[in-house]
Amino acid sequence: MALDIYLPIAEVSVNGPLLVALGAGVGFISGLFGIGGGFLMTPILVFLGIPPAVAVASLASHVAASSTSSVISYTRARAVDFRMGGVLASGGVVGSILGVEVFRWIRLIGQADLVVSLSYLIFLGVIGGLMLSESLTTIIRSRRGDAQPQIRDRRPPLLYGLPFKVKFPKSRMYISVIPPIALGVFVGMLSAIMGVGGGFILVPAMIYLLRMPANVVVGTSLFQIIITTTLTSVLQAGRNQTVDIVLATLLLIGGVIGAQLGAKASSRFRAEELRAILALIVLAVGLRMGLGLFLTPTEPFILMTGSGG
């Protein structure tokens, strides 16, 4: 069939329209929730038979594309804190370089599967669970007409007690740069290991830990994701030659359009409803990835792609 396309780097044949549609679907989710969508796309690509190393590397440019597409819309709506994004990204750069090295070592000892499955199960499970319970509580309260409780501690010592305070006018904050940099490093490492942009961790962390205003969170997280995924993409191509330009292009054709539609659709939903839906998606993916750890495998042996790492 002419619709199947052979990928030059991945060296497998895939259905072209399916990948474009997949890119569009994940792009829509990306624009809607302000996340890269990597946590959804990586497992799907691996399931389709694309070698994980190629999937992770090529995905980085897809995530960069759909994030660019939606960040521009958010910029127009003046919802990006570039200063905060830059601080997060500086940590993210360090984190991804560290993460790539850690992941090389993990692959060498053959435990990549375990680490990836466990990270998905733990991080997606915990974050999905927390977001779900928080957003459901908010939804129920507002349905009942109860007043939303104020956040008790408006000035958490973690943010205000540490040195190197910087003004973030867009977010109307004056906090230490240490927590955002640390968050950036952590997310950067996870993204290199899990093959994700890290938005699903960044967004809740920015809301609950950094106490940033909700309206700038999504745009700012997308901005930081663009910087780290652009770097990851070039690093992966330069060091590992695992970026498949055909795969990336197929995904991003759909991705950029989906992201636009998603960003438009996001204004029709209430923030807590969006968070509840995202929480369900995150939980489902985390549980699905973790399931493999508990089920008895039908094939007790597994071939590992690539030799040596």
């Binding site: 069939m1 002419a2 199947d4 396309i5 052979y6 030059p8 780097i9 060296e11 497998v12 044949s13 440019s61 897809h62 960069a64 594309a65 759909s66 994030s67 660019t68 597409s69 939606s70 521009i72 819309s73 127009r76 000892i109 053959g110 435990q111 599967d113 375990l114 663009i226 652009t230 993409s233 070039v234 690093l235 992966q236 191509a237 330069g238 030659q241 970026v243 330009i245 055909v246 990336a248 292009t249 991003l252 950029v256 359009i257 992201a259 636009q260 493999g292 750890l293 508990f294 089920l295 008895t296 495998p297 094939e299 007790p300 042996f301 597994i302 071939l303 590992m304 690539g306 030799s307």
Partner: protein
């Protein structure tokens, strides 16, 4: 009375319908037909075995083990000497054509492939005997080896066909070789063996090239010879596409 000339030795000859498989964007695997003929003036019963080997690739394989309720991978084992593609086709089951030793020496049949895990082997002196090869995988070694073959067979890369060589006319035979989409890129060798009385009496080797052509090749070379430029180009495409989409949607 005429002097009887010594009987000509039996020979086999063969040709592939294609000697070059071009991997393009629409590559869906390939089917190649091998034709051959047996020349034997004395018409002794003959068997033909065709062995196709793809470029050699080391294989890393791990065993899933249960630790504290979780299924995790054991330490990976590297097998060497494994062809990326292997097909043995014959006129009859191989064990009826020749003995164990002959098949083992020729590497004919999946069971006789010279796959081993050199990193797991040690040469040591045991009970006073020097140079004994000891395998760290011990008795499980066969399980590992079988798993390599089983997983490769599942991907359509290893195959043994007892009746894959068919005589279409008295001395003319034919064998189908099917390369799956996952078949590795590189140089393949088809070895055509003529067996009589359990011994190989004649052989031919034909070569087959599986290579990327056109855009596939250009991109592959670009990615490997100018990796940093390639990375910058691919990420620029991504950023430009993202920007273009947002501009397009702003107008609409």
């Amino acid at each position: 009375m005429m002097v009887q000339p010594p009987p000509l030795p039996p020979t086999v000859s063969a040709a592939l319908t294609t000697t070059e498989v071009r991997v393009t964007s629409g590559f869906q695997g390939a089917r190649i037909v091998l034709y051959g003929a047996v020349f034997d003036p004395s018409h002794r019963p003959s068997d033909v075995v065709v062995i196709v080997r793809g470029p050699e690739q080391p294989i890393r394989i791990a065993h899933k083990v249960r630790v504290a309720g979780l299924w995790i991978n054991s330490r990976p084992v590297v097998f060497r000497g494994a062809p990326g593609f292997y097909k043995a086709a014959s006129t009859r089951p191989l064990d009826q054509i020749a003995g164990f030793g002959v098949l083992r020496r020729l590497g004919a049949g999946i069971d006789h492939l010279a796959i081993n895990a050199p990193a797991e082997q040690r040469v040591e002196t045991r009970y006073g005997v020097k140079d004994v090869v000891v395998n760290r995988l011990g008795a499980d070694y066969l399980d590992w080896r079988q798993a390599v073959v089983r997983l490769k067979a599942k991907m359509g890369l290893y195959e043994e066909d007892d009746h894959g060589v068919v005589f279409v006319d008295q001395n003319l035979f034919k064998a189908d070789i099917t390369l799956p989409t996952d078949a590795p890129i590189g140089r393949y060798q088809a070895q055509i063996l003529l067996f009589q009385n359990g011994q190989p009496v004649s052989q031919r080797v034909r070569e087959l090239d599986v290579k990327k052509v056109g855009l596939q090749r250009t991109l592959y070379l670009f990615a490997h010879f100018h990796p940093w430029t390639y990375g910058l180009v691919s990420v620029s495409i991504a950023l430009a596409a993202g920007w273009a989409a947002s501009v397009a949607f702003r107008r609409s």
